[in-house]
Structures are given as structure tokens and as C-alpha cells.
């Protein structure tokens, strides 16, 4: 499992970004290069037909495993799943709660 020790640092942020992109590439069957092109506004759930509830569930469960976080029912909302930026912000907040 990949661990992301210090999310405050730029290196940690980049590691989280690439881990999340790799995970989405795994779920959608994309080349890493395609996933690398994801930006904050790239649409996810509701924008990509293949990303149905079962696929999103798999994505979140894999995020728990790879990032070592626990995602509760209440965490999962439209905002977090709608764009890549939303998902990244959610993962960052989970790893670095204030």
C-alpha cells in the first residue's frame, strides 16, 4: 500500500494527486497519460456513463485501502463525486483533518 506521509508538502500533494489519478485510470481502464490530463473541473459521477453506483462504490473502497482512510455514508455527496477537483479536495481533507 502507498502511504502519503505528509500532505502539507508539495510532494505529498503531488503524490495524492497521482495516486488518485492512477486509481481513476484503473477503474475507467484509461492510460495513465489520459488520467494525468484530469483537471479540477473534469466531470466524474453523472458525466461518465461507465461510472455507475457500483463503479463509484469500488472506487471509494479502493481509496480507503490505498489511502488508509475510512469513508462514511455522510461523506458521500454529489459535490465530492461530481468533479475530479471535488474528489481530490475530499481525499485531502480526510488525510489531513483540521
Amino acid at each position: 500500500m502507498t502511504t502519503i506521509p505528509n500532505i502539507d508538502s508539495a510532494a505529498g500533494e503531488a503524490a495524492l494527486d497521482s495516486e488518485l489519478k492512477a486509481l481513476i485510470a484503473d477503474v475507467l481502464g484509461l492510460d495513465p497519460a489520459q488520467a494525468a490530463a484530469f483537471g479540477p473541473e473534469s466531470g466524474l459521477f453523472g458525466h461518465l456513463p461507465e461510472l455507475d453506483s457500483m463503479a463509484v462504490a469500488g472506487l471509494l473502497t479502493e481509496m480507503e485501502d490505498r489511502l488508509g482512510i475510512v469513508i462514511e455514508d455522510d461523506d458521500v455527496d454529489g459535490e465530492m463525486l461530481e468533479t475530479y477537483g471535488g474528489l481530490l479536495a475530499f481525499a485531502r481533507a480526510k488525510l489531513n483533518p483540521r
Binding site: A25, D26, V27, L28, G29, E50, L51, D52, S53, M54, A55, V56, A57, G58, L59, L60, T61, E62, D73, V76
Partner: protein, 229 residues
Amino acid sequence: MIFTWNHPGPDGGSPSEELLVAFDRGRTVRVLVCPAWFDEANKLRRFTIEVMRRLDAAGIDTLLPDLPGCNESLAPLEDQTLASWRAGMAAAGEALGATHVLAIRAGALVAPASLPGWHYTAQTGPKLLRGMIRARTIAAREAGMAETSEGLMAQGRESGLVLGGWPIGAAMFRELETAEPALAPGQMDIAQSMVGGPGLWLRAEPDEDAGQADRLAAIIVESIGNSAP
């Protein structure tokens, strides 16, 4: 490729005819394949058969029975339990003369302990349930219904639950909450890192990967070679 075998029936119940996909040429090494479950079964079906083709080419027989209640099986899925699936796989292994077992994902939960073999990226019962419950709560939310994981878990324990289209009985549900795969003597884990690339069960749409099938088959062939007398 499609054959039948006779399930003697649980606890002296009526025998039934079950289907299996097999590469059966009466060779010495005969691998019983315990498939992945539910949604993962669909995503990994093609991969599973591709691995079997490669083992066939390497001179190894493979036998892939349906889990009772799945695919062509006439048994009702909601009546199945972890114990009935274990018994079904053990009966298949015996009836078909299996010498080894290849268990895929949650298939490791029902791999006969009497056979040496491999657990490919074994999945635990709690993780399997968690993923399926989560899919249901997300779908419910999209539909404007309020369902919580806790509520669904309680309902599943009490009266069973339909998850991702699969009716899972209460007994099976309760068993899965604590089910962990265990390696029996002569069995080894094969992690995804040994096969390389992303696991195909993660994929939103079923897919295949010839390289992964090549590598998993090669690991099995090598392992059999190492253990040959």
C-alpha cells in the same frame, strides 16, 4: 467446453445436474476454479476463462463449476449460504477429480481446504459486503431515497438483502460479515503485484488483459513445476 456434473445434493437432498466450463482432457493436473462472486464474477469471467485457456495450452486441465444459485444453476440464490457454497465446491472438486484449486477473489472463501493451490487476490467477506452496500446507498441517494449502511446491514442480518441485483439470504449475509479467506496447507496467495497492472475487478466495465492472464497462468505453471515430485 461446457459439461455437466451431478451435485449429490446438500444433506442428502435431491441430486441436481450442474453445469461447468472445463478444459478436460483427462490430464494429471486438474485445477478446480472457484470463481469471483457477484459483480466481480461478471468483471472477471473473461479473464478467468483466458487463464484457463493458457493452462490448457500448458497441459493442465481446468474445471470451472457454477456456484449454486449463480449462472445456469437452478438453485435459488437467496437459499445459499457460505456453508452450502463450500459444500458445493468440495462436491464439485470430488466429483470432477480435481487435484488443485485456483480461487479468485471471494472464491477463496469457499476453496476446498483439502486441495493444494492458489488464492488470487483473495477478498474478505466484510469488504465484499461493504462495496455492495455502498453501491446501494449511492444508488438510493441518486434516486432520492434515504438508506444508510447501518440500516441496510441490520436489514441484511435480519431478512437478507438484494445487493447489486443479487438476492443474498440472511444466513449468507451474517456469515459474510466475518468471513476471512484462510490458506490451507499447500495453498499460496497470489497478490496483484505478482501479476502486475490494475486488478480487472476494479474496472467499471468488464475488460480483459492478455498480459495479466499470461502472468497468472505462468505463476501457476511454475508453482506446479516446483512442487512436482
